[in-house]
């Protein structure tokens, strides 16, 4: 019955139950996190086609040395059929982000940038190039209307 190390299936079960009881008190999920989760549904763009995040240089393992020489993050998005493609470079300056990108397949000469600060219109030049300067770090996505007339929204990304 007695176990000098206290190691037994019953003891393990009890310890896990203790963890289960202590964790929500010691490390509670903040209310604003729960609120943000609930609010996520309101960010849905029901009719919009998703331009999914295809690559993100921040998601690729790199050597620390290599990373320090790569302050620019590269992101690309595309719809399944490739009607809309977005590539962008994000430069970090403190808590601000500068974006230089190209959006191909838009019907008009502008896109909408959604961020914590709200929605802003960004103009596209004839080649689809766009620049956004000094946005605050946080979650962003781009929206546009495709040349086929469909609303398109990119995945959200944390900048």
């Amino acid at each position: 019955m007695t176990n000098s190390s206290g190691r037994s299936p019953e003891g393990d079960e009890q310890l896990l139950q203790d963890i289960s009881r202590v964790l929500p008190v010691a490390d509670p999920m903040p209310d604003h996190v729960a609120a943000a989760a609930r609010a996520a549904l309101t960010m849905r763009t029901i009719d919009a086609e998703l331009a999914e995040l295809l690559s993100d240089s921040a998601a690729e393992p790199t050597l620390a040395a290599a990373r320090s020489h790569r302050p620019v993050r590269l992101l690309s998005f595309a719809t399944v059929g490739g009607e809309v493609e977005v590539e962008m470079q994000v430069e970090t300056v403190g808590d601000r982000r500068n974006i230089v990108g190209q959006l191909l397949g838009a019907a008009s000469g502008s896109l909408t940038l959604d961020s914590a600060a709200g929605s802003t219109e960004v103009s596209l030049d004839e080649a689809g190039l766009f620049t956004v300067r000094e946005i605050v770090d946080g979650l962003i996505r781009l929206r546009c209307t495709s040349a086929q007339g469909r609303p398109v929204a990119t995945s959200w990304v944390l900048l």
Partner: protein, 193 residues
């Protein structure tokens, strides 16, 4: 009617996909803590964990019509949260250490202790302090197994890239390590008690 079983996660997801905010809220209620736990076990501070949580829920919204197995949306959320954690760690110039050395003991970065003003019974406070000294993999595994609702072994296996058969033994070793930290406070000879 009042004895009807609670809706399955798949039902909640389908209702949320058709615009039912109540169903969505219930889903976030059911899995919010799981997502939070995954984020917190990856050495992310509270602000980064909050970002990961929000990103994870937005990913679900983006893909709400395309979840292959709606009943396993909890596993999908946990896996997505894990991926976003790794991204966040790399963004902040940190990598997730998966070497064996890091499994049982936290190798670096002493975590801040209890939030000030947080009142825990002394024994619980000790348990929490000891828990925070565990390695990331142990913390993640124990958080998943201690989650409410608990995460099934099959999902833990996927989430942690760990063979199904390794979960039980690793769980035992992590709990043993935790117990050694608890008992060995001030004594390096943990386990000799």
């Amino acid at each position: 009617m009042d004895t009807a079983p609670p809706p399955t996660s798949g039902e909640l997801l389908r209702r949320a996909a058709s615009g039912d905010a109540d169903a969505w809220n219930e889903l976030t209620e059911r899995y919010g803590k799981l997502v939070w736990s995954v984020a917190r076990s990856f050495r992310l501070d509270s602000a980064d964990a909050a970002d990961v949580s929000q990103t994870t829920w937005l990913r679900l919204v983006e893909n709400i019509d395309r979840i292959k197995d709606p009943e396993r949306v909890g596993a999908w959320l946990a896996t997505t949260a894990r991926r976003e954690c790794l991204r966040a760690l790399r963004l902040t110039g940190r990598e997730y250490v998966t070497s064996e050395d890091a499994v049982f003991d936290r190798p670096e970065r002493e975590e801040p202790g209890l939030d000030s003003g947080l009142l825990l019974a002394e024994r619980d406070a000790e348990l929490w302090q000891a828990f925070r000294q565990l390695g990331d993999r142990c913390q993640l595994l124990l958080r998943l197994l201690a989650a409410d609702p608990p995460v099934a072994y099959r999902e833990v296996s996927e989430l942690m890239d760990m063979p199904l058969g390794a979960i039980g033994p690793t769980r035992a070793r992590c709990l043993h390590r935790l117990r050694a930290i608890l008992e060995g406070t001030g004594s390096p000879a943990a386990g000799s008690a």
